[in-house]
């Protein structure tokens, strides 16, 4: 890849950095308990949680760092942090 004049870049390559590898704990989403409030999606610092067709939410585990904010803030306690099996 040719060096960009002046150290510039167009967006896209950040996605090459798969921050999911940082995780120690993984959030497990219980869609039955989900009230579809969207809080998790709003407060994820990665912006990796997206809405499914049925209105519940799922993180993109390629990028989820396992910080646990979604689990802490979910008003319905529908997200549980569990240590990941490696």
């Amino acid at each position: 890849m040719a060096l960009a004049v002046g150290c510039r870049a167009r967006p896209g390559k950040a996605r090459d950095n798969k921050t999911g590898s940082w995780r120690v704990f993984k959030p497990f989403f219980d869609h039955e308990k989900c009230s579809q409030c969207g809080t998790c999606k709003t407060i994820c610092p990665e912006g990796c949680i997206s809405e499914d067709a049925d209105g519940t939410f799922t993180p993109d585990y390629t990028y989820c760092k396992g910080c646990g904010l979604c689990a802490t803030e979910c008003p319905g306690e529908a997200i549980e942090m569990k240590q990941e099996e490696k």
Binding site: P11, K13, A14, N17, E46, T62, T72
Partner: protein, 298 residues
């Protein structure tokens, strides 16, 4: 209208898990929209989002130096005006870049009244360089250059009142916000960018690494800051306080005990005088901004 489903901050950035600043960046961009140009100061947000060739910014973005973002933005705004273009210009700077090293440029830009919005993500210290004290560091917080020790309770100096300083420059809209209240944050950003002139939004962005708490607590701690009166969410229109978030105030201790940077106030010995001094800060904020919800007497 804020499109809260718009994602303009790409995954793959290198912020710590649970980072308040990363959350702030995402929310600010939702409030601002695609027709935005961002000028960033050197700092955590700039570093974790743009290691060449990876960039998380899906809007045009420029970083020059630590202290000159406001001056760079002044030039961008002037250029856009000359070209008849409509993009909104926002500056994103940490508290270090804003309160301290960038004072010259931010004062000049606001004095000239360029049509831009300055957004400060306030994590209350120079975090990117390893948690050193800034003009935004609260009283008694321990940082690496204002450490608590046998002869010190940490930062001896009060938090600089940037919102009032910029209101005094004649800024038509000044607001404080917090990652604790995302919708409020996004709406304030949208209001700021649509108010002609130099506007300022200061966002409380707790730093788990620097303050010493688990990343999952970022939003909860931001809420506690407001509930204990140590952070006030307010809006100033043309220099006058117009809207304030009111709370049933909790004692400051509930906020202080959640973070390692205040641990020295409790261990090895409880420092009543210091905690009282911090409570006094909260009381002054409450009086100045009228944040206390008056409970009806039975």
């Amino acid at each position: 209208m804020v499109d809260k489903d718009l994602e303009l901050f790409d995954c793959g950035h290198r912020a710590c898990g649970g980072c308040g600043a990363a959350l702030a960046a995402r929310l600010v961009l939702k409030g601002a929209g695609t027709n935005t140009i961002v000028v960033s100061a050197t700092g955590c947000m700039e570093v974790f989002s743009t290691p060449y060739p990876e960039t998380s910014w899906k809007v045009p973005w420029i970083h020059s130096l630590f202290e000159n973002a406001s001056a760079v933005a002044s030039g961008v705004v002037a250029s856009l005006k000359k070209q008849g273009r409509t993009e909104k210009v926002i500056v994103m700077g940490g508290d270090g870049a804003t309160f301290d090293i960038g004072m010259l440029c931010i004062s000049g830009a606001f004095e000239r009244g360029h049509d831009f919005t300055y957004i400060c993500y306030d994590n209350e210290a120079y975090m990117n360089t390893g948690i050193q004290r800034s003009g935004a560091t609260p009283y008694d917080a321990s940082t690496t250059t204002s450490p608590a020790g046998s002869c010190s309770f940490g930062n001896k100096l009060p938090k600089k009142d940037m919102p009032q300083i910029l209101a005094a420059h004649g800024a038509p809209y000044v607001a404080t916000a917090s990652v604790a209240y995302p919708m409020d944050l996004m709406q304030k950003v949208e209001k700021a960018i649509n108010t002609p002139g130099s506007c300022y939004v200061q966002i409380h962005a707790p730093c788990c690494t620097g303050w010493g708490f688990e990343g999952e607590q970022t939003v909860a701690i931001a809420k506690l800051a407001i509930e204990t009166g140590l952070w006030v969410n307010f809006e100033m229109i043309d220099g006058k306080v117009a809207k304030v978030k009111k709370v049933v105030r909790k004692p400051v201790e509930e906020y202080l005990k959640t973070q390692k940077r205040f641990r020295h106030l409790f261990k090895p010995k409880r420092q009543d005088a210091e905690i009282a001094a911090i409570q006094a800060i909260s009381d002054r904020n409450a009086e100045k901004y009228g944040i206390d919800i008056k409970l009806k007497k039975e």
